[in-house]
């Protein structure tokens, strides 16, 4: 079916007011040289079954969740802490059996109705004291859930008071679920707090000649471990990771790096921007999803440092790794070539994972983000033209200035100019790499998803757990790109090979072909009997 017609058919089902709003979030792509604006980062219409979660999920779950040595104390009724307990697959590897690791724990003030009526600050303070007594952490983060802001609890004041009393770093997040329109607002709030309360606290950088920070990498399924392996092999030092397999110390020394590289633009671009202004660290976008993309990203980093030794080393590593990748591709591609994928997930993955599908010879017919903004689709150049609506205005925009003591330009203006090809502060977005005629849908609804599958029968559909079994009931395998279906790593070179194998496995699973019972598949027999 022609995608324009698909769109019209789908919109017909909605009440007219709803159709008018959805109309702008569904777009038939006109090609990389003719990128049209798409509506994104706007409210989900009440009653629509959405993939999205909330601000708290983006703040606590995504950005701070993967850091092992902070006690993440959730201030609110029990549910919010319960659902964010070990549910995001951020792996972590403490260096010794005694190193602090609180990631297996869920901490909550478990607010009761009396706390809602009389306020929860006293309980929150006491909870901080008890967490300190039992765990002696070096930091506590306090996360506000929906009721907290409404009843007027001031988590920031509590944090300040407890920081003083207990002598450890304590800071709060006003990440109530209703702020903003999706997880995205929570990313921003988390980014702000890290800049305000953590980054810059210690000047002791990681050892090494080429020090970088990896931003927007969350170590799902061990992705960060694979990137650590590759960087290490190249002789590049990881000064800090935001935030896969990270520690508080890494955040505290983040300002000592020579370069920030950004994986998931959506969730962490704010930190990159602020660190550039405050400390003079340049940033550019990388992508370690896909073998070719990983090679390209490594070359970018080597070019930034400009050192011939490093460039040589990086080329050696790439050659060595790609040889293994190629062997895998040669074996698997004949079985995946020509198949079709659809990707609806997150704020960067729906873009990044197209790389891996391309390597398998699979095309992407339709894609969209769950909580991306226009710049994630159309590229950062459109940022000045994005209208700030009431929901975005709620999220604090920190104004940072150059730190009088710690600002240090890493490169001169001329040097940066000479390196222009690295595209500092740039991100071209998803659309620049998608084919003309593809269907781009922001904040995909359940109804739209069913219609996509019904009409286009993709060979694999990529989304999350809530979509997984609906899609599979329709006889189409769903690959989870949040949790990787408990596989991975998928980043880097070894990750690419893992992904090829997993896609090969799911698009060629035998059982899918056996859904019909023999007597359902062969009505002929029945007919014969009847006759």
């Amino acid at each position: 079916m022609d995608p324009q017609r698909w769109k019209q058919e789908v919109l017909k089902k909605y009440p007219s007011k709803v159709a008018k709003k959805r109309e702008k979030s569904i777009m038939v792509h006109e090609g990389a040289d003719n990128i049209k604006p798409i509506q994104a980062n706007v409210r989900t219409i009440p009653g629509i079954i959405t993939q999205r979660g909330c601000t708290y999920a983006g703040c606590k779950g995504v950005v701070l969740g993967p850091t092992r040595d902070i006690v993440n104390l959730v201030h609110g009724p029990i549910g919010c802490s319960f659902y964010a307990w070990l549910t995001r697959r951020n792996q972590t590897l403490p260096p010794t059996p005694d190193s602090p690791n609180y990631m297996m724990y869920s901490f909550s003030t478990d607010m009761q109705d009396s706390n809602i009526v009389f306020g929860g600050e006293i309980k929150l303070k006491q909870a901080c004291r008890e967490a300190f007594e039992l765990f002696k952490p070096k930091a506590i983060g306090i996360f506000s859930t929906c009721p907290v802001g409404l009843i007027g609890d001031d988590v920031h004041a509590v944090a300040r008071e407890m920081k003083e009393e207990l002598g450890i770093n304590i800071f709060g997040f006003s990440c109530e679920g209703y702020k903003g329109v999706s997880q995205s607002a929570g990313h921003h709030i988390a980014n702000n707090a890290l800049v305000k309360h953590v980054i810059g606290l210690t000047d002791k950088a990681v050892e090494g000649k080429y020090k970088i920070n990896m931003l927007g990498e969350y170590n799902i399924g061990g992705d960060a471990f694979e990137l650590e392996r590759i960087l290490d092999k190249c002789g590049i030092s990881l000064n800090s990771s935001f935030s896969g397999n990270s520690t508080m110390e890494q955040f505290e020394r983040a300002h000592m790096a020579d370069l920030n590289v950004v994986m998931c633009h959506r969730s962490i671009n704010y930190v990159a921007e602020m660190m550039e202004k405050k400390y003079g660290i340049p940033w550019f976008k990388v992508n370690f999803i896909g073998a070719e993309a990983s090679a390209k990203s490594l070359r970018k980093i080597a070019d930034y440092f400009g050192d011939q030794d490093l460039k040589n080393r990086v080329e050696e590593v790439i050659a060595e790794e790609l040889a293994i990748v190629k062997k895998s591709i040669d074996e698997i591609k004949p079985r995946t070539d020509g198949k079709m994928a659809m990707l609806f997930v997150g704020g960067s993955r729906a873009h990044h994972y197209q790389e891996l599908f391309n390597e398998l010879g699979m095309s992407t017919l339709s894609a969209g983000y769950e909580f991306g903004h226009r710049d994630d689709y159309e590229g950062r150049r459109v940022i000045p033209t994005i209208t700030i609506d009431a929901d975005s205005r709620n999220i604090e925009e920190l104004t940072v200035e150059a730190d009088p003591m710690k600002f240090k330009p890493r490169k001169t203006e001329e040097e940066l100019k000479a390196l222009e090809a690295l595209d500092f502060n740039g991100y071209d977005g998803m659309l620049a790499e998608m084919a003309k005629g593809t269907l781009i849908i922001d904040d995909l609804s359940h109804y739209e998803m069913e219609k996509l599958i019904e009409i286009y029968h993709p060979d694999v559909f990529c989304a999350g757990i809530k979509e997984k079994y609906c899609v599979q009931k329709m006889g189409i395998p769903l690959k989870q790109l949040h949790s990787y279906d408990y596989g991975g790593p998928y980043a880097g070179f070894e990750g690419a090979v893992n992904f090829y194998k997993d896609i090969d496995m799911i698009v060629n699973t035998s059982i899918w072909k056996m859904i019909k019972a023999p007597w359902e598949a062969e009505p002929v027999i029945e007919a014969e009997y009847a006759a």
């Binding site: 909330c54 609110g76 802490s81 659902y83 549910t87 003030t109 967490a131 929906c146 009431a390 359940h446």
Partner: protein, 460 residues
């Protein structure tokens, strides 16, 4: 060690919950509502709660879990959620076309004081609910009770909205099921059929959350109690409530509203609780217990007598929901096991009273606690002080299990890392055999793994 910071030093916590043995109300309401045929549960609050609840249920059942949300933003939190809910109702009937929408609240809509009753009435008055369709609701503030409370509230609201008394009584018995798996609901129905008793069971999530793969996604699967059935509960001869935490409110309301007497039982988990259920059902319906059921019971007893020595005296730690824990503990006592530590985050005095009755004679050393801060951290600390042989609870126990090398039998919610719970029941005599098998497998597997080589036995 995964839980490397947990020590045996127990302090008296007043504010901090660590590793909870409960979650919040709305997820229970959502689960219960899925047990109505053609129902779309709706979460009135911001979309994160709904997303979390759907996710948790999906991970447990590995099935589609459909529910919608009012998608509150900051504006709705200030001005109230009426506009959101009205728009949601309109959109849902147009796009997803359920027979019924079952609305539950969240702590957000509760804190701002939305009057869902009034909003629902307005939706009906404004003609947003098409003819022959229904909109029901219940309040589920998450700062009261637990997920169990939410389940109870939704079940009670089914009675409130539907149960009606007509001129003629029906020769049927109501079974109100507590929070159990679809497999358990199916098993309870099978037992009733085996006994020849006509029942109306609600909620009923069998054929909703255990559906076959057909190549088609049935948005409203064939299972679930129907609305005519719910209405007819007011005409039934009597009611049996299975699990007081989840069903007592509903049973009482049904009695008050339609004068249908009820018998309040524990969930039929284990020998005695199943005996009670079968006896009560046979009395309520006035039927004899068929031989086939007596034989099922006999097979269970036979299995236990065969393998008793491996169960005898084994110390067990349990966590989960009161309605499951009470009969399960009783069953362990029947097996001469020692349920020594029991926690549930769900508050309620009944829990202590019931467990005291079950444990005081046979396991006087048992420790149990429920409500605030009755959490898995405390349970783990107890275990650190004096270990157990077996742990029974949801998937979160795997961290304690691995650290302490104590086998874990998965029972409860959520079970996210194994399958089977939605297909193989733990209720009834067959369910009890399933439980005994699981426990034995765990205990004997460990024995085979750790015992000295010369002690490995072929026959056990």
């Amino acid at each position: 060690m995964l839980l490397r910071h947990t020590t045996d030093k127990i302090i008296d916590r007043e504010a901090l919950t660590i590793n909870p043995a409960k979650t919040c109300q709305p997820i229970g309401a959502m689960y219960a509502a899925l047990g109505i045929h053609g129902c779309l549960p709706h979460s009135h609050g911001s979309q994160g709660c709904c997303s979390y609840h759907r996710t948790a249920l999906t991970r447990h059942y590995k099935e589609p879990v459909m529910a919608s949300t009012s998608s509150f933003t900051e504006g709705s939190s200030v001005f109230g959620g009426q506009a959101n809910l009205l728009q949601a109702v309109e959109t849902i009937f147009a796009v997803y076309n359920p027979d019924i929408i079952a609305v539950h609240t969240t702590c957000l809509s509760e804190t701002i004081g939305d009057d869902v009753n009034q909003i629902a009435q307005k939706a009906r008055d404004d003609g947003k609910v098409p003819a022959g369709k229904y909109l029901i609701h219940c309040n589920t503030p998450s700062y009261v009770g637990s997920h169990v409370t939410g389940y109870a509230n939704m079940v009670t609201s089914m009675v409130k909205h539907f149960s009606a008394r007509s001129a003629t009584r029906k020769n049927q018995v109501n079974l109100i099921t507590g929070w159990v798996e679809p497999s358990d609901m199916r098993e309870i129905k099978r037992l009733a059929t085996e006994m020849g008793v006509k029942i109306v069971m609600f909620p009923d999530t069998s054929d909703v959350l255990d559906t076959p793969m057909t190549g088609k996604h049935e948005f409203y699967p064939k299972g679930g109690v129907t609305i005519p059935e719910l209405i007819s509960t007011g005409d039934s001869k009597s009611t049996i409530g299975l699990g007081p935490f989840c069903t007592e409110d509903a049973a009482v309301l049904l009695d008050n509203k339609c004068k249908v007497k009820f018998d309040m039982l524990e969930l039929p988990i284990g020998l005695k609780a199943t005996d009670n259920f079968i006896t009560s059902l046979s009395r309520a319906a006035g039927v004899q217990v068929p031989e086939s059921i007596t034989a099922e019971r006999g097979r269970l007893i036979d299995m236990v007598t065969d393998m008793h020595k491996y169960l005898y005296g084994k110390r067990v730690a349990l966590y989960g929901d009161p309605d499951t824990l009470v009969p399960l503990t009783e069953f362990l006592v029947t097996l001469d096991m020692k349920p020594v530590y029991i926690v549930s985050g769900t508050p309620g005095k009944k829990f202590e009273a019931s467990l005291t009755k079950v444990l005081s004679k046979k396991v006087p050393e048992a420790k149990f606690k429920n409500g605030e801060r009755a959490d898995m951290y405390l349970l783990h600390q107890w275990i650190k002080n004096e270990p157990v042989d077996l742990i029974i609870g949801n998937s979160y126990g795997k961290y304690i299990s691995r650290d302490e090398d104590i086998p874990l039998v998965r029972v409860g919610f959520p079970i996210t890392d194994r399958v089977g719970h939605s297909y193989f029941p733990i209720v009834g005599y067959n369910g009890a055999m399933n439980l005994v098998t699981k426990m034995l497998n765990m205990i004997l597997d460990k024995e085979d793994r750790v015992c000295p080589e010369e002690k490995v036995e072929l026959t056990m």
